[in-house]
């Protein structure tokens, strides 16, 4: 007799549990995120829209190379502006500033690169009348970064400077992109006339 009474009481417990579970499910189902308002726009934070490379000779006119792409990942390609021609057989001190101009005021990304300089490196490659580059700065481990560098020119003619910023490259590396690996944050090429 006792066992029968026990068996009958279990479905009662189940019934109560079932009701509780049902209530819980219904309550859960009634909550949702819809508030009917317009969503807020997203301004991309770590986008780099603008790179300015300033080339200053010890004596003479400073030249700026500008690459600007305000629509970021949008369909428009970056606009490239070069302020003037470089002088032949001259050594220039280069410095790089990166901005996110989708934000107002523009966010300076250069400082983020400086803070994480062990995870970043610029790579330069030159052709034609541009004859060479060398690094002027190092990270905490003594490896090059490239926010400041030198650029030398040869005889008058045409040339190009390609600037690539890699995130999480192998450091140290042999100075080539192939050896460095990592992800590309910037890859721009400037066609420059040397006179």
């Amino acid at each position: 007799m006792k066992t029968i009474a026990f068996k009958n009481s279990i479905p009662q417990n189940l019934k109560r549990t079932a009701l509780l579970a049902t209530a819980a499910i219904l309550l859960m189902a009634c909550s949702n995120d819809d508030d009917g308002d317009n969503p807020e726009p997203v301004e991309e934070e770590e986008t780099i829209t603008t790179m300015t490379v300033t080339l200053a000779p010890t004596d003479g006119e400073t030249v700026t190379l500008l690459s600007k792409d305000l629509d970021g990942d949008g369909p428009n390609a970056p606009e490239i502006t070069i302020s003037g021609n470089l002088s032949a057989d001259t050594s220039y001190t280069g410095s790089i500033v990166l901005l996110n101009e989708t934000e107002s005021p523009a966010e300076n990304i250069t400082t983020e690169i400086m803070e994480e300089d062990d995870e970043h490196q610029f790579f330069f490659s030159v052709t034609g009348s541009l004859t060479g580059t060398s690094y002027m700065d190092t990270d905490g481990d003594g490896n090059p970064v490239g926010l400041s560098f030198t650029l030398t020119t040869g005889a008058a003619g045409d040339g190009s400077l390609a600037v690539t910023l890699r995130h999480q490259p192998k450091k140290p590396n042999d100075g080539t992109l192939a050896d460095a690996g990592g992800e590309t944050d910037i890859a721009q090429t400037f066609d420059i006339t040397v006179e």
Partner: protein
């Protein structure tokens, strides 16, 4: 206690016992009289039988309550209490054709097909348990004609006869999964350990579940619970050498004779980095937790159940696949080794995905005498997806994608099965869905905020013409309404030509961005007709024609942005319309004792077929990026799935599978992208039930090279300063894999059995890459893997 008192009652009260109880026994379903049913008063040896009209009579009864036991060979035995006051007459219904009523079936019984005329295949628990530590997509590849689209080893999307994603519906315990299935790198959020059997229906023939299953349907069903007092469960432990992890799953079910039941199940999976034959696949680990609980009461006439399941997965994505631009992609494709290989670790680092899925379901049914069965179901799903990319500065720990998808759906259907040769099923479905894209990511939304409403109605008819011929037909109508609030870059809005075509959609101009409010409606019609012909005892012929329409998913409409992890820009199109598939499928099947086969050819003609393909390049400050655009075209898929088995002796058996599919874009006269390669699978097995149910299988799998693929694209490489060919579509070489599987069972005592299994995948440690693995550009697939399974039933 109550029952015993009632039954004893008549014998306790002394009185004049001359009453006659007369009654009629009829079939619950079609109200026909039941002949030859035995009627017996409980505790009394007297038995009477019902006559041709189903009538019976019992004499010499006292006033009081009697319990009668009524049984019939084709019905389940029933106990009825009858209050006898003088001569009494009573109508008694019995539940006929027991074999069709799944609620009262016991565990281990045959699983009936979900369709009569479509190509269909079911995997049972034994087939699934071998993949306990894998995923649904891995297990389904056992079926000829089912492949998978992978992103590494952990993200496995089923491909049915060449189609995947939104074209493949997954029904988890009767609930259609809404888990952002639109993305190539979004795996189904289901726990393979929570189900007892999985059926794959190759096509849109099961209209009850949806009309848009242009690829097919996957029905995941839990085990049936017997209506008897019992408590049982199992625990299954799997360990794997590759990934140095495994899975544990456990479940427990309590059932009562009264129909009450409660069950619970949980599984946990953990892996570290997987390994290719030559190197570690750095950052490919995973962690997965699945929990499900359910309870309810399943009576014959009515029943209800409540189920809740939770699924949480954290998946690391191959580190070397996170790249910056086209030049990085070119370097990855040309390099034979991943660009980043580190030592093995368990940590799940960025890039990674973290997805949780809640599913709650309430079901109710009621049977009506002489008519049929009514079902009502409400379900709720909540899917939260985070994707973490490698980011810099303050955003380092922030997700790049943070989407929340909530879906409510209510469905009801009525099945009229009173006539045995004629079954009519009709129903209605309503759905509300809300997607919220969290702006705190600091990354422009890939998928916008939207609300979606669906309403559907269906009717299907099954007509058994004779013992050998069955016909079926069905129709379904679905209405979809989607309303989104989406920001477009003004430059993108203009580049797409939307400023000309959809100027009215703009509700706010923010200068560089536009807030738009697209509202679209889709009307979709689906229909199916088919036949099943029993050629002989073991041979069956099935033919099915299915018309199906599918509305575009949010990704196809709204995608707009850079997929950082894939280094590609994906662009949806607001102009995309529903796609329409017309599929013919035939299947000839023999299931004999010594040999059998299944030959299933099909042809699928799709108009407005939505494809995502690389179409060009866009430039930004980071360089050049391939652009993948959704477009619509006319497509044709022709294919053949075959199986053959031969039982050579009592112990030896061989199995052979072959499948081929050809997908063509008939507008552009060129092959479709991501069509599975031809594959051939042969295995030889030895089984001996006397030796502790010992089984061993050696399997060979040969995947041909896919020779049909769309052309590669030319891109400008800033690094190389010239146009180069981006080898993005070229498939990898053919490969051959060998696997070994063995198992045996040790009975521990009367109730408990320990099953032990050992599987070796990629036995020869072959290096290979698969065309349908999205990480094939970056690394080889998995090397040799030993898996040990221990299962305890109790």
């Amino acid at each position: 206690m109550l029952v015993i008192v009632l039954v004893n009652c008549p014998y306790l009260v002394a009185q004049n016992c001359t009453n006659v109880l007369s009654g009629t026994i009829i079939d619950f379903h079609d109200r026909t009289p039941l002949v030859g049913a035995t009627v017996q008063v409980a505790g009394n040896a007297n038995v009477v039988l019902s006559d041709f009209e189903g009538n019976f009579s019992l004499g010499s009864l006292c006033d009081g309550i009697y319990e009668l036991e009524i049984s019939h060979p084709e019905c389940s035995t029933k106990f009825v209490k009858i209050d006898v006051q003088g001569d009494t007459s009573e109508k008694i219904t019995l539940e006929h054709h027991l074999e069709e009523l799944d609620e009262v079936k016991v565990v281990g019984d045959a699983v009936s097909d979900a369709t009569n005329t479509a190509q269909e295949k079911t995997l049972r628990i034994d087939d699934l348990e071998r993949y306990s530590a894998g995923s649904l997509g891995d297990a389904l590849k056992q079926i000829s004609g089912v492949n998978s689209l992978n992103t590494g080893a952990n993200i496995v999307k089923p491909v049915i006869q060449g189609l995947n994603g939104s074209r493949v519906l997954i029904l988890n315990n009767g609930v259609r999964m809404h888990d952002m299935e639109w993305g190539d790198e979004h795996a189904p959020n289901v726990d393979i350990n929570a189900v007892d059997h999985v059926s794959v229906i190759k096509g849109a023939a099961a209209l009850k579940y949806g009309g848009d299953a242009i690829g097919g349907l996957i029905l995941m069903e839990p085990a049936r619970i017997p209506a008897k007092d019992s408590l049982y469960g199992k625990t299954l432990l799997t360990g794997a050498t590759n990934g140095r992890g495994g899975n544990i799953t456990t479940e427990l079910t309590k059932a009562y004779k009264s129909g009450w039941f409660a069950k619970g199940q949980a599984s946990f999976k953990r892996y570290g980095d997987f390994e290719a034959p030559d190197y570690v696949l750095s950052n490919t680990g995973a962690s997965e937790l699945g929990v499900s609980i359910g309870l309810g009461k399943h009576d014959f006439v009515w029943g209800w159940d409540a189920n809740y399941s939770y699924f949480d997965t954290d998946i690391a994505i191959l580190r070397a696949s996170d790249i910056g631009n086209t030049d990085d992609l070119i370097r990855a494709i040309n390099g034979r080794e991943p660009l980043i290989v580190r030592d093995f670790e368990y940590a799940i680092n960025k890039p990674r995905q973290e997805v949780t899925h809640h599913l709650a379901k309430l079901g109710f049914y009621r049977r009506f005498e002489g008519l049929g069965k009514w079902n009502l179901q409400y379900d709720f799903q909540h899917n939260q997806r985070f994707e973490f990319d490698i980011r810099v500065g303050d955003d380092r720990e922030k997700a790049s994608i943070d989407l929340r998808l909530a879906t409510h759906s209510l469905s009801t259907d009525f099945k009229i099965d009173a006539k045995r040769d004629f079954i009519l099923n009709f129903g209605l479905m309503g759905l509300y869905q809300n997607n919220f894209a969290n702006p705190d990511t600091g990354v422009r939304r890939l998928i916008p905020d939207y609300d979606k409403y669906d309403v559907g109605a269906f009717a299907t008819l099954e007509y058994t013409v004779s013992n050998t011929l069955l016909l079926d037909a069905g129709m379904r109508y679905d209405f979809n309404y989607i309303e989104a609030k989406k920001f477009y870059r003004t430059s993108r809005w203009e580049e797409r030509g939307y400023d000309v075509e959809f100027p009215d959609l703009v509700i706010e101009d923010l200068g560089t961005q536009l807030l738009t409010n697209p509202k679209f409606e889709y009307h979709n019609l689906s229909a199916t007709v088919g036949m099943q012909y029993q050629v002989s005892n073991d041979t069956e012929l099935r033919f099915n024609y299915a018309l199906a329409q599918r509305a575009p998913n949010p990704s196809e409409l709204f995608s707009d942005g850079l997929h950082h992890s894939a280094a590609r820009i994906e662009l949806g199109d607001l102009r995309i319309e529903s796609e329409t598939s017309k599929k013919l499928s035939l299947s000839i099947q023999k299931e004999g004792n010594t040999w059998g086969y299944n030959i299933s050819p099909y042809a699928n003609f799709i108009t407005n077929f939505i494809v995502l393909e690389p179409t060009g390049v866009e430039f930004n400050i980071r360089g050049a990026f391939p652009v993948w655009t959704y477009r619509q075209t006319t497509a044709r898929l022709l294919g053949l799935d075959t199986n053959l088995y031969s039982q050579w002796t009592d112990h030896w058996r061989t199995d052979h599978k072959f499948s081929i599919v050809n997908g063509k874009d008939t507008d552009l006269e060129r092959p479709l992208i991501n069509i599975p390669a031809v594959n051939l699978n042969n295995s030889i097995s030895y089984a001996n039930p006397v030796w502790k149910d010992f089984k061993i299988t050696l399997e060979s799998q040969y995947i041909f090279r896919q020779n049909e693929f769309p052309p590669n694209i030319m891109v400008f490489s800033p690094e190389q300063g010239q146009e180069v060919l981006l080898d993005i579509n070229t498939p990898p070489e053919a490969y051959h894999l060998v696997a070994l599987d063995t198992s045996f069972k040790i009975p521990l005592n009367k109730r408990n059995t320990l099953s032990v299994g050992l599987t070796v995948n990629n036995l020869l440690n072959q290096s290979y890459r698969d065309y349908l693995n999205r990480l094939r550009y970056y690394a080889d697939d998995l090397g040799r893997n030993f898996l040990i399974r221990l299962k305890l039933n109790y």
